[in-house]
């Protein structure tokens, strides 16, 4: 059985490799020499353009931060309605379908859509990141809500409270740590999504990346990538530290 599966997968792989030109020796050699040329032209990075880039990377961080926050505000009501321990199967199912639909749209497509709506610039990028965030954060949140101890819910429900009160006094306090740590994770992740927003003119550092590629200024491109890398690493690190403090506080 295993042999057959491996054999079939191997054959499929070979066929698609062939189709995609991975066996074309002359094109492989050409690609290698192009890449060598590209790398040679990329070094050394040029740091004199850094001051100009600082403004753009700061915009990317802001897009990520504001987009994540906006995404949070949109996610909360959706996650509330999608939690099956708060709402019936139909309401929760319909809202899950919406959230799932949002999740299937790639972030860059949201960027394009909001550039059409708002025009070029960071406003479009922020909305793009926000919608992208909703697809994931709403799902993470309704799953956390559903994991709340059913006994606590039953006990508080029996005091005669309604769903909003239940949400405010049971669901949110019981999941607050998880919610914050997932929000930080989302912010961290959204730095990458925000970078891509620039590719379609929706603000931030990505705009420069695409520009440098088009103008063949590879040294500038490398500088941009290094800067982005440093920012991503710093934010990952800070977010990890904060999240570990939260997890420790929880236990």
């Amino acid at each position: 059985m295993t042999t057959i599966v491996v054999g079939v997968l191997g054959a499929l792989g070979l066929v698609s490799f062939f189709h995609l030109g991975l066996f074309d020796l002359s094109s492989l050699l050409r690609a290698a020499s192009n890449l060598r040329q590209f790398i040679l032209e990329t070094f050394p990075p040029q740091f004199e353009i850094l001051p100009a880039l600082m403004h753009a990377i700061w915009e990317t961080i802001q897009i990520s931060f504001a987009g994540t926050l906006l995404g949070l505000f949109l996610s909360l009501p959706l996650a509330f309605l999608a939690a099956r321990n708060l709402f019936g199967r139909w309401v929760a199912g319909a809202v899950r379908l919406i959230v799932g639909g949002i999740r299937t749209v790639p972030s860059i497509l949201f960027g394009v859509i909001f550039v059409i709506a708002f025009g070029l610039g960071p406003t479009a990028g922020t909305w793009g990141v926000a919608l992208y965030t909703v697809g994931y954060l709403a799902k993470l949140y309704y799953e956390a809500f559903e994991a709340v101890d059913v006994e606590v819910i039953e006990a508080v429900k029996s005091t005669g409270c309604n769903r909003l009160q239940l949400f405010r006094f049971v669901i949110v306090p019981e999941t607050a740590n998880t919610m914050i740590s997932q929000l930080l994770f989302m912010f961290e992740y959204n730095i990458r999504a925000s970078t891509m927003m620039g590719f379609v003119g929706a603000g931030g550092i990505g705009y420069y990346m695409v520009g440098y590629v088009q103008m063949l200024q590879y040294q500038h491109l490398l500088t941009t990538l290094i800067l982005t890398f440093l920012v991503v690493m710093t934010i990952d690190y800070l977010s990890l530290r904060i999240r570990s403090v939260i997890t420790v506080a929880k236990n």
């Binding site: 606590v152 029996s158 019981e174």
Partner: protein, 251 residues
């Protein structure tokens, strides 16, 4: 079953029953009955203990009486006259159902959600009177100094008192408590049961389930013995039944 029906008729003068459950059947899976035709009545100012081995259906019965789940068959009647009552029945689940991330006081205030307007409760603006009442109850139960402590900092006995306080602020005529002192050491369990005794003197009816039969003789006005979803026997004036008899009945 027949024995119980006799007991039910003989022991309870219908006029002082404030809660009566008749012919309760319940099935979780639609096939096997977890309760098969149970009758229970509760009189004002009495402490009833339901004993039975685990899986005999005690928790299911309490949830049905508390209106947390609907029985497959049978009905629960409340007969309460006079007084403006907010929540006639307060329910304390097996693991108490407290929100661990909130303070004792917040948990007690949750008992007032049923009679506090939604918008005011969402910003935690409870009436002055409700606050005072919560503090009074906490101090009466001897844990006023723990009011601002989060639940997970409290001992088992203190948590038990918070759960009682949350029940009391509902101005209940009936308190249903599942496996009430199961997690406590003997001394603390007796302290808590002394508190419950006092509540009975205030005309609150109590129904407490337990798998620990040793407490029955000292505290119960009445004992209901369950096994495999049936009530096997009901005894008033529990003093004249020996531990051995109870054990033999429910085994």
């Amino acid at each position: 079953m027949i024995e119980h029906t006799q007991g039910y008729d003989a022991l309870t003068n219908p006029s002082d029953a404030i809660l009566s459950a008749i012919g309760i059947e319940h099935s979780y899976d639609g096939k096997t009955n977890v309760l098969s035709g149970v009758n229970v009545t509760l009189r004002q100012g009495s402490l009833v203990m339901v004993v039975g081995r685990s899986a005999s259906g005690k928790t299911t019965l309490v949830k049905i009486l508390a209106n947390v789940i609907k029985p497959t068959r049978g009905q629960v009647n409340l007969k309460i006259n006079g007084g403006h009552l907010t929540r006639p029945i307060a329910y304390i689940p097996q693991h108490l159902g407290l929100v661990r991330n909130l303070t004792s006081l917040d948990n007690v205030l949750m008992g007032a959600l049923g009679y506090t307007p939604t918008w005011r409760s969402l910003i935690k603006k409870f009436d002055r009177g409700v606050y005072d009442k919560a503090m009074d109850i906490l101090s009466e139960l001897g844990i006023k100094d723990k009011a601002e402590k989060k639940i997970w900092h409290l001992s088992g006995g203190e948590r038990q008192r918070v759960a009682i306080a949350r029940a009391l602020i509902q101005n209940p005529r009936i308190i249903l408590a599942d496996e009430f002192v199961a997690q406590l050491d003997v001394i603390t369990a007796m302290e808590i049961l002394e508190i419950m005794k006092k509540l009975v003197q205030r005309n609150i009816a109590l129904l407490v389930t337990t798998h620990d039969v040793s407490l029955v003789r000292k505290y119960a006005d009445r004992v209901i013995m369950m096994n495999k979803g049936n009530i096997l026997d009901t005894h008033d004036a529990s003093q004249d039944i020996s531990l051995e008899e109870i054990l033999k009945t429910i085994q």
